[in-house]
């Protein structure tokens, strides 16, 4: 009897409902051998996406076979005779950025045409198709739909014209959390994904003291060919989150540039990295623009050389760059279109462009910035230490850009994965002005994570957005990566401001919603949702630590040393836990940059203060 019961239980446990089996489709992709390079890439990308989406068996052909299966034609009538033959006169009028996805019929056969007004637009058509089948483009990679898509040729008739001519992706600039810390591999991954989101320009702001500029440019700084403005972020055995780094790592850096090398070696590394990025941009059909400012050069240099001289020097150094723009304290380089672009941030201010909430809601700020610019900087997520979201502000700014007929925008990313949903909105809204953040979020979430998750995550995202706005209005310098970013809360008088506590609570609620969504999203990997939950946990614990520092400060001012010590200890522990939460999901140099910054500007000075107070107590005894 017992044995039968066991068998019964075993049988129940092993019973798995049989899934209906669908054979993977066969797909024939037609692209001529002499097609432009980007259209060849479009065909390869299509094959890759079809394999990921459907497990499809993809055949690449130069001409359409007599009896093709799942026929897809890549290109335009000008680049692919098969497209010309199938589409004939009905090819739509397209701008160089316009792209088309169209089901066509011929002799009772069906094909799908994917093309554009230029080869890169054809590439975007392929990415659009994969999107329509449920693929979602995260900054860390592609995410196939939770429910497998079903391949079809029928029912496509889309002509898409981007609303903004410039959709630029800034791929360099100052700061240990952002692009300055990214290796070539990380740049590659991000540019691949940026191409899928239809970005068409790469902006590379370089600074005179960085390893990316010719040594001949005279800079007011003594440290040349360095990273992060010459700041060093050390890591020792005691540093929380150090498991996210290779053993024996002494300080955080971008491994693409060996800072222990001499000046020449460092600039060689820097040049190699930047050239690599330029090549990558071109590979995905993007225009690559170098920008620089002479603000950082010595007065003597500025008086002797013009922006044109610097532009020439940089253009010689990076001949592959499509354009070089140089600003000078004396004015813009009139020979190119400097005026159209956001000026590079002042070196080592680590201060981003005006925050998105302020830019969106403050007409005076907009009036001060916008008239001079044809392309507006969108610093998504600020400096990237704690996750920030401002999709609503992005929506408002896009409307202003459109109303004022601006050329477009240039996004600045620090911690890319924090912005996955915002980037999804931006990409969709750039081609369809009816797109709303909520609709874009739901489209993103339902496909990537399955049913029943969107409601919670949308709530979570809105709480993060509210917290972002609160922190920004509470202290506009809150997100700046400076040595006093943590300890200033210990030096402050009085209790933690209400906005800080409210923002902390919002992050807590957002984290709970994300964990709840993660529990529900069972058909897919934990990884992306767990990542976001841990980033929110980092924010919650970081803000908890700052709150504790205000309490410690109050205790100190009241000469209550025991309470001061207790609160300091709790604040230090909270920061330790915050950094550990970040370390759990650290997968790129932005994540590691957060750990390095939080250690250098937070944990280490806090621990030193803790030890100082502890010693003072002991000495008193």
């Amino acid at each position: 009897m017992f044995r039968h019961a066991s068998l019964f239980l075993f049988a129940i446990a092993f019973t798995v409902p049989a899934a209906a089996y669908t054979a993977p489709p066969s797909i024939t992709v037609v692209v001529p051998a002499e097609a432009p390079k980007l259209e060849r890439l479009a065909a390869e990308e299509l094959a890759d996406q079809c394999k990921k989406l459907f497990g499809a068996d993809v055949l690449m052909e130069a001409i359409a076979p007599a009896d093709p299966k799942g026929l897809i034609l890549i290109g335009s009538p000008a680049t692919n005779p098969e497209v010309k033959a199938w589409v004939g006169e009905s090819w739509p009028k397209l701008s160089p950025q316009g792209h088309v996805l169209r089901t066509v019929k011929r002799d009772g056969k069906t094909a799908l045409v994917m093309g554009g007004g230029s080869p890169v637009a054809t590439l975007w058509a392929v990415y659009e198709l994969a999107h329509r089948f449920g693929m979602r483009y995260l900054t860390a990679g592609d995410m196939p739909p939770a429910e497998p898509a079903k391949f079809k040729l029928e029912g496509f008739d889309l002509v898409i014209e981007p609303q903004f001519a410039v959709r630029a992706f800034q791929s360099m600039d100052v700061g240990p959390i952002g692009p300055e810390a990214w290796t070539l591999g990380e740049h590659k991954r991000l540019l691949q994904q940026a191409a899928k989101l239809k970005f068409n320009q790469v902006i590379l702001p370089v600074h005179a003291w960085q390893a990316f500029t010719p040594v001949g440019i005279d800079t007011a700084r003594k440290n040349l060919a360095v990273l992060f403005g010459g700041l060093v972020f050390p890591l020792d055995d005691d540093a929380p989150g150090r498991t996210a780094f290779a053993p024996d790592t002494k300080f955080f850096t971008n491994s693409a540039i060996d800072l222990t090398g001499n000046l020449t070696a460092r600039t060689t590394d820097g040049r190699q990295l930047l050239n690599g990025i330029i090549d990558l941009g071109h590979q995905y059909g993007m225009t690559v623009i170098l920008t620089a400012s002479m603000d950082e050069c010595t007065a003597e240099y500025v008086s002797e050389f013009t922006p044109r001289d610097v532009r020439r020097a940089l253009a010689t150094y990076y001949p592959q760059a499509d354009e070089v723009l140089v600003w000078s304290p004396r004015g813009a380089d009139k020979n190119n279109q400097t005026w159209r672009w956001p000026r590079p941030g002042a070196a080592q201010s680590a201060a981003p462009a005006p925050s998105l909430p302020r830019l969106a809601r403050d007409p005076k700020l907009w009036a001060r910035i916008a008239p001079d610019r044809d392309v507006i900087a969108l610093p998504l997520g600020g400096n990237g230490a704690i996750p920030a979201l401002a999709t609503g502000s992005v929506q408002a700014i896009l409307k202003k850009l459109k109303d004022e007929k601006k050329a477009g925008y240039c996004i600045q990313l620090a911690n890319p994965a924090d912005q996955d949903v915002c980037l999804h909105f931006l990409a969709r809204a750039s081609c369809d002005n009816a797109t709303t953040p909520k609709a874009a979020y739901e489209e993103f979430i339902n496909s990537a994570f399955g049913e029943g998750v969107a409601d919670r995550l949308v709530r979570g995202f809105s709480k993060v957005e509210e917290a972002t706005s609160l922190l920004d209005s509470g202290d506009p310098a809150f997100g700046e990566l400076r040595d006093e970013m943590v300890m200033k809360h210990y030096q402050a008088k009085g209790a933690a401001p209400a906005w800080l506590t409210k923002a902390k609570n919002l992050y807590s609620e957002a984290m709970d919603e994300t964990y709840r969504a993660n529990q529900r999203a069972r058909k897919v990997s934990h990884e992306p949702l767990f990542y976001h939950a841990k980033r929110l946990e980092f924010a919650l614990l970081y803000l908890t630590s700052l709150e504790g520092l205000h309490r410690a400060s109050q205790a100190r001012d009241q000469n209550n040393v025991k309470s001061q010590m207790d609160e300091l200890e709790k604040a230090t522990e909270s920061l330790f836990n915050a950094i550990s939460a970040q370390a759990e999901i650290a997968r790129d140099n932005s994540n590691r940059g957060v750990i390095a910054v939080a250690n250098t500007y937070g944990y280490r000075p806090l621990k030193a203060e803790l030890e100082r107070v502890e010693k003072a107590i002991k000495d008193k005894k």
């Binding site: 017992f2 066991s6 239980l9 075993f10 129940i12 446990a13 092993f14 055995d237 005691d238 929380p240 989150g241 150090r242 498991t243 053993p247 024996d248 049913e451 029943g452 998750v453 409601d455 919670r456 964990y515 709840r516 969504a517 529990q519 529900r520 069972r522 934990h526 767990f530 200890e569 230090t572 522990e573 330790f576 836990n577 550990s580 759990e584």
Partner: protein, 478 residues
């Protein structure tokens, strides 16, 4: 001459065999964490006093040591589960046996699919893997001797399997407290044939390893679980006694000393936090206060349907109360360190509890250490508490060991030192004394969730990816 040589060789082998310290299961002898080793290092790191190291792949299971060999497990790739045997002294790989992991269930990132600590009887090594079951391997060459299939455990919160087998009296005993069909099972170590299987329907997901407690010549198999500490006859699996003093979720393993069982458990929330509250917090995705069928993991749908008495497609109120948590065992959260006298019969709740402390001290993840008459627990934040086991008197409470963070690994002790591995990869060494004294903080530079093993003056540390052996240069001679 040849006879003399052989005799000498025989003596050397014999000497080596008698010297080899055994650490045959999770946390060593009877899960105590105690080693008889001398000359254990105080200071070491990923670069200091490292005798050898090996890359194994992802894993959180502890190493075990027997006959001069170290046995460990790891995911050598996302689809392959491997068992490793290394020479304990040199680190040379004696054998490696790999298994196709099959379709793996989701587990929380803190866990790993290579989570169960192996056990050995000296001749055979026994491993558990969630999609395979129990496997018996020849300790000498890794050859598979038998396999005993078990259902894949199911967890409402995706915790994933992490229970470990033990060996006793020719039986491999394995407790699998999951959220669906919890049980304890014993199979013959030699053949893998089922000897007995006892359901534990009152239990929820938990990770307590069975321990043995002998009183007046009778040995009980003791298992901590939801709300209850239970004693079984290890030969038959028949329940002998129950002590109903535990909270809902039990992640830790008790320790037995001189016929007394010491338990330290922390289960999230207060005593009112029964399972329903956790389910409504985390599984009720739309937060409407009831559990829809679509909100329940696939494995639990049958249970859902059986519990949905009014067939409205939702579990509410009483339906939800009784769906997953046993109606007779509606315990909630709480903290406890307690001493329970072994050797009882029937319900011993009122008769065998020697002392019971409700301190905020216990950890929910690391198990207590009983050494030199003291019980030590370490919890999140590196907060340690020490209790005199004779009377439950607190010697120190929630004092920092100077290493923040989480503690999944349990303390182990030997040579007058206590080793506590933090999840951040730091191992803090304390003096095994009545007062807290920190001797060292050693950085292994990689996450640690597994409890280290100790044998013959060396410490075997399973980090998330590696097995690292540390010891003084002349440890074996000592």
């Amino acid at each position: 001459m040849r006879v003399y040589t052989l005799a000498a060789l025989g003596l050397i082998v014999l000497a080596a065999q008698t010297r080899a310290e055994e650490w045959r299961q999770f946390r060593g002898p009877n899960s105590s964490g105690l080693s008889s080793s001398k000359g254990l290092p105080t200071k070491f790191s990923h670069r200091q006093n490292v005798r050898w190291q090996a890359v194994l792949g992802d894993g959180v299971a502890c190493p075990i040591v027997s006959g001069g060999k170290v046995f460990t497990t790891g995911m050598t790739n996302p689809k392959t589960f491997s068992v490793f045997c290394h020479d304990a002294t040199t680190g040379s790989e004696a054998w490696k046996k790999s298994f196709d992991a099959g379709k793996l269930p989701r587990v929380i990132p803190q866990n790993s699919h290579a989570s169960a600590t192996p056990a050995t009887d000296g001749q055979r090594v026994f491993v558990y893997f969630s999609t395979i079951g129990l496997i018996g391997l020849n300790a000498a060459d890794g050859k598979e001797i038998w396999r005993f299939s078990l259902p894949v455990p199911a967890y409402l919160m995706d915790w994933g399997a992490a229970n470990s087998p033990i060996v006793h009296d020719g039986l491999v005993i394995f407790c699998q407290d999951d959220d669906l069909f919890p049980y304890v099972v014993a199979v013959e170590a030699q053949t893998g044939k089922l000897r007995w299987r006892t359901p534990r329907p009152e239990m929820l997901g938990g990770y307590s390893v069975p321990v043995l407690c002998t009183v007046n010549g009778r040995t009980d198999l003791v298992i901590a679980g939801t709300g209850k500490l239970k004693g079984y006859d290890p030969a038959t699996g028949k329940e002998r006694w129950t002590c109903s003093t535990l909270p809902r979720t039990v992640m830790t393993t008790p320790v037995v000393h001189a016929g007394v069982i010491y338990v330290a458990v922390q289960s999230y929330g207060d005593s009112a936090r029964v399972l329903k509250k956790a389910l409504l917090e985390w599984l009720d995705t739309n937060q409407d206060g009831k559990l829809a069928r679509s909100e329940v993991p696939q494995e639990f749908l049958e249970r859902f349907d059986a519990s949905d008495k009014n067939k409205d497609g939702f579990l509410t109120d009483e339906e939800l109360d009784n769906a997953f948590q046993h109606p007779s065992n509606m315990v909630g959260g709480g903290n406890t360190i307690q001493a329970v006298k072994g050797g009882g019969n029937g319900d011993v709740t009122k008769t065998h509890v020697l002392w019971n402390l409700s301190l905020p001290a216990p950890s929910n993840l690391s198990s207590p250490l009983v050494s030199n008459g003291r019980l030590l627990v370490v919890k999140h934040g590196g907060l340690s508490t020490c209790v005199d086991i004779a009377n439950g008197k607190v010697l120190w409470e929630r004092e920092r060991i100077r290493n923040f963070g989480e503690y999944y690994s349990s303390p182990v002790a030997g040579d007058g030192k206590i080793y506590i591995a933090g999840r951040n990869g730091a191992i803090v060494v304390l003096a095994d004394e009545p007062k807290l004294r920190i001797l060292a903080r050693n950085d292994l530079a990689e996450e640690i969730a597994a409890t280290p093993a100790i044998a013959d003056g060396r410490i075997y540390i399973r980090t998330r990816q590696k097995l690292i052996c540390v010891g003084e240069q002349n440890a074996a001679a000592k």
